[in-house]
Amino acid sequence: MSKYLFYPGCSMETSASAYYDSLMAIREPLGIELDEIRDWNCCGATEYLGISITPAYALISRNLALARKQADGSRTLVAPCSACYLNLAKADYYMQESPLLSERVNEALEAGGLSYRPGSLTIRHLLDVIINDIGLDTVSSKVVKPLKGLRVAPYLGCMVPRPDYEKRWSDAEYPNELDRLLKTLGAEVIDFPLKTHCCGGHMTQISPSTAFELIRRLIHAADQYKADLMVTLCPMCQLNLDAYQNETNHHFHTNYRMPVIFFTQLMGIAFGIDPKKLGFGKEIVNAAPALSRIGVETPVTQEPGPRKKRKDTGLPMPRMPGEEEVS
């Protein structure tokens, strides 16, 4: 059993709960124990750093301080979310690089009775831990349902392989870790050229047309390569590509239906875990048709349908073209 300190991050509890559920389900076969940081706070995503530097790093570092205090054996802090992983790693790295930043952050932490010595934790992403600590041999030994015949586009997004302060990834622009993992699960893995291109991040909220173009490029490429689905490791990427796919379709008059799921969900399926425990059905673009092609049945969430029109027995009213009378 390998034990790690665990920082889930806000998305895992809400928009990316499928990621959380599936991660919890594959802990046992992988032999990992996750010790969640008690009373952790938001990492500030990509927002706080643009408002004010010292408070932004103090916010991130409260988590580092709590994690270090809680560390019992393992000094490795694992984050499954890309932005959380980068923020935690960045704060630790920059505080080592700049003693002035470390001094200021520690002065702020002191107001809450906390402190953190930069470099006293190792911050890693979940995929890195699975590939490099657990190992693909162990993963392979747990596969009972190979994903034979499922064409997947591996999509990592930006903030895991870049800027990569500790040089943990095979490449900053074209890393092979996710490809290797998915091949181990038996899937047919597309050599996906846009695998670390940007999903638009928070641009859906600030400049939607910028975001829609970035989303379109990714979905279009996956479609061109005839992917059954896209596999990601980042809550923000999944949210943008999945939940904003309809808006993007609307914006460009396209009609893509590309499911986007988390790599941990596919690991669960390959390990023979009940799909109900893996967060399926939470994706907006239904993944069930793609997975039924390899004989896996996953739950589907029923969309609330259009309201039924009442039988028109009143006075004749003007109608919109296309409106039909219910008899």
Binding site: K90, G113, C198
Partner: protein, 194 residues
């Protein structure tokens, strides 16, 4: 910062802004090392929507064009994808310089469009009050203010997220919010003093 007597022969006063940006950046910015090669702009997925490419913006900073640089939409259009950062031959911490320019523009109230600063500020307000992000509150508040006309179009997506339990209607608060508030209050004092 301690004030030193002005150099009687200040050979290049334009460099003061470059020094200010560099000093305000977390870690070591290496902004002084820029060789104006343009790899950053060429690598940028959103440069088409920027007023200035990162290369041009850095040239403006070096020329002391403070107001123009802080008015540029470039830092706000940066998606923090770090493509430029890993490709920069001089290892300039470009994404972090963009964060610095945003915070300086907010302080100087020099941005042109308030959509992006408001979004960041609303996000930060939620985090400062709850210790967690609060997507439902953030999205509704932000959309009402900036994209009210788009709200009806976004409704199906919001409903889809709610029916799949991917969005909470109410915020979650951390236990020791008082501790976080004290830390952030102290951090803000330190930031204002710098």
């Amino acid at each position: 910062m301690t004030l030193t007597a002005a150099n009687p022969v200040d050979t290049n006063p334009n460099l003061r802004f470059l020094e200010e940006v560099s000093a305000a950046t977390a870690g070591v910015s290496r902004l002084e090392m820029c060789i104006q090669c343009g790899t950053c702009g060429g690598s940028c997925p959103s440069s088409a929507d920027m007023d200035h490419t990162p290369r041009l913006l850095f040239a403006m900073i070096r020329a002391g064009m403070r107001d123009e640089a802080l008015r540029s939409n470039t830092p706000w259009i940066c998606v923090s994808c770090y493509h430029c950062v890993v490709r920069c031959p001089q290892n300039v911490h470009i994404a972090d310089v963009m964060y610095t320019l945003k915070s300086m523009a907010i302080r100087a109230k020099l941005y042109k469009d308030s959509t992006a600063p408001d979004f960041s500020q609303t996000f930060v307000d939620m985090v400062e009050n709850y210790g967690r992000s609060y997507e439902f509150g953030l999205a509704t508040r932000h959309y009402l203010k900036h994209f009210a006309m788009r709200l009806p179009g976004m409704a199906p997506m919001g409903l889809g997220m709610l029916t799949r339990k991917r969005m909470d209607m109410t915020p979650t608060r951390i236990d020791n919010i008082e501790q976080l508030k004290k830390i952030l209050a102290r951090a803000k004092e330190l930031e204002d003093r710098s």
